[in-house]
């Protein structure tokens, strides 16, 4: 697979790798939203965690881990960069097509961007659910 320079850059120097603690720790924290999407047997699993400043409602920090191909790693790495500083509603507006465009993903790797969008939605959804904002989430669709 011949990848463009942006994918290679994110793959070789992934941004914001990690998490905000063990899975039980982050589960208990209300300021953190966790998204875990994909499946090992499909060859892609993304874990995205956002840390929200609860006074401003802005995403302070984002971390990811990814089991997947170079495009999946690059897509999730890019997602963390884009999420930082955004409000949770702004985060929800990130579209997979923007990721495709930014990374110049080849057609067979579009699903990686879809998975990254799913991970964003899952992480923000988890944050909203923890903080009783679920109705707001439903309205925004």
């Amino acid at each position: 697979m011949a990848y463009g320079p942006k994918i290679i850059d994110h793959y070789e120097n992934p941004r914001n790798v990690g998490n905000f603690g063990s899975s039980s720790d982050v589960k208990a924290r209300k300021d953190i939203g966790v998204g875990l999407v994909g499946a090992p047997e499909c060859g892609d699993v993304m874990q995205l965690q956002i840390k929200v400043d609860q006074s401003t409602g802005k995403i302070q920090d984002a971390k990811f881990k990814c089991f997947g191909c170079g495009s999946a790693i690059a897509s999730s790495s890019l997602a963390t960069e884009w999420l930082k500083g955004k409000s949770i509603d702004e985060g929800l507006s990130i579209k997979n097509t923007e990721i495709v465009e930014e990374l110049n993903l080849p057609p067979v790797k579009i699903h990686c961007s879809v998975l990254a969008e799913d991970a964003i939605r899952a992480a923000i959804g988890d944050y909203k659910a923890k903080n009783g904002l679920v109705e707001a989430a439903a309205k925004s669709h």
Binding site: M1, Y3, Y11, P14, V17, N19, S22, S23, L36, V37, G38, A39, P40, E41, C42, G43, D44, V45, M46, Q47, K65, C66, F67, G68, C69, G70, A72, I73, V108, H111, V114, L115, D118
Partner: protein, 412 residues
């Protein structure tokens, strides 16, 4: 000595043509260029002599009579001629009807065997696909259990191309001869590298390829037994009646000469090369498995080709692993790179889970592989797996004691 990058560890896919083979082929382009079918002038005779010499060299590595060697374009064509040719010749009912006869093969054969079998199923033949255990082995007992009164052909590869497991060919051959059933074996990964004696091993039809044994691409051979029993075939390609009528078409003289030379070199060097490759393979496997937890070597522990190893690395994905080791040419256990996200059907047939199948690499060694290269590959692969495991949410879960098979994943 520093290694020269990139490194080639994909000799089961194809090999570098041995310069000695190229040297043998060159005169066939510009000097010995006659058509071996031209019986009335010296140009034809010279080419015919070159083909005869090659036929003897190929027969030599098979323990066959030169008359039993049919030159083809490669093992895929050899497999097709053998399987479809036997089925159509020995069919028990005419075309268009059902119950034309029974064929036995295995689920983890090469596509060049499976697809002809599937076509024959559509044409009224019945096919049994044997299923191996975790070691990938097909035994004579498994074949025995599947034999029927209307079985006309057993086609089982000698050694598997993805995992290197060596099937019980002599035992299966003897069983087939007892029962009066023909045995074809796809010996693409075996013939030339490992000893063959079609008499001792009771093989009736055998496919082999030039480019897997340091010969040229586009040439192969099919061994067709001439006595006890005399195997008959319905040809797939009709025309000038070359190759005993089994395969019409002007002979690819340079390719055939190359295949012959490749066989002769392989036979002369085999006794030294086998142990050398096994030592290198062991060095590779031990280097990797000692440095990394949660890895597994796929296929049979002992009954395995000395030049192939297929390793699954838990919690990392195959394509990203290949990206991280891009200066090393290997094959991945999943076909991601060919745009379909299917994990290897061979690994799946052994019960390797889809997740591990996606995380598998096949390393295949060759004539020019060195110990320094193996050490370099070990270091690179270990570093790449460690890097990707730092990125892997699955490895975190594994370390936290979470069983990832128990999680309800949303399949996509």
């Amino acid at each position: 000595m520093p290694v020269k990058l990139p490194l080639y560890f994909d000799n089961a896919a194809t090999t570098r043509t041995d310069p000695r083979v190229v040297e043998a082929m060159l005169p066939c382009f510009t000097e010995v260029y006659g058509n071996p079918g031209s019986r009335n002038h010296s140009f034809g005779w010279a080419s015919e002599a070159a083909v005869d010499k090659a036929r003897g060299q190929v027969a030599g590595v098979l323990g066959a009579d030169p008359k039993e060697v049919v030159f083809t374009s490669g093992a895929t064509e050899s497999n097709n001629i053998a399987i479809r040719g036997v089925a159509n010749m020995y069919a028990k009912a005419p075309a268009g009807s059902a119950g034309r006869g029974h064929i036995i093969t295995a689920v983890h054969e090469h596509k060049a065997v499976l697809d002809p079998c599937k076509r024959l199923q559509k044409e009224g033949f019945e096919v049994t696909y044997l299923e191996p255990g975790r070691d990938g082995l097909i035994t004579a007992d498994m074949v025995k259990g599947a034999l029927r009164d209307d079985t006309i052909l057993v086609t089982i590869m000698w050694a598997n191309n993805e995992i290197g497991t060596i099937n019980e060919i002599p035992e299966i051959g003897r069983l087939c001869h007892e029962k009066g059933v023909l045995l074809h074996t796809d010996a693409t990964q075996w013939a030339g590298k490992m000893p063959v004696d079609v008499e001792r091993d009771a093989v009736d039809l055998l496919s082999m390829s030039g480019h897997k044994i340091f010969g040229p691409k586009g040439v192969g051979a099919l061994y067709v037994r001439r006595r006890k029993p005399r195997v008959r075939l319905t040809p797939l390609v009709d025309g000038g009646g070359q190759e005993r009528g089994f395969r019409s078409g002007t002979l690819n003289v340079p390719g055939i000469v190359g295949l012959g030379a490749a066989c002769e070199i392989a036979a002369a060097e085999r006794d030294a090369e086998g142990p050398r490759l096994l030592a290198l393979r062991t060095r590779l496997e031990q280097g990797i498995t000692k440095a990394l937890d949660t890895t597994q070597i796929n296929g049979h522990a002992e009954k395995r080709l000395p030049n192939i190893t297929n390793i699954s690395f838990g919690f990392v994905e195959g394509e990203s692993l290949m990206m991280a080791t891009k200066e090393i040419a290997v094959s991945s256990g999943s076909a991601c790179t060919s745009a379909s996200l299917e994990p290897s059907y061979v690994l799946k047939s052994l019960g390797v889970g889809d997740d591990l199948a996606h995380s598998s690499l096949r390393f295949s060694l060759g004539r020019w592989t060195t110990g320094e290269e193996v050490d370099y590959v070990v270091d690179k692969v270990v570093a790449a797996v460690n890097k990707l495991r730092l990125l892997s949410p699955l490895y975190d879960m594994h370390k936290e004691g979470i069983d990832i098979t128990k999680i309800e994943w949303a399949k996509h």
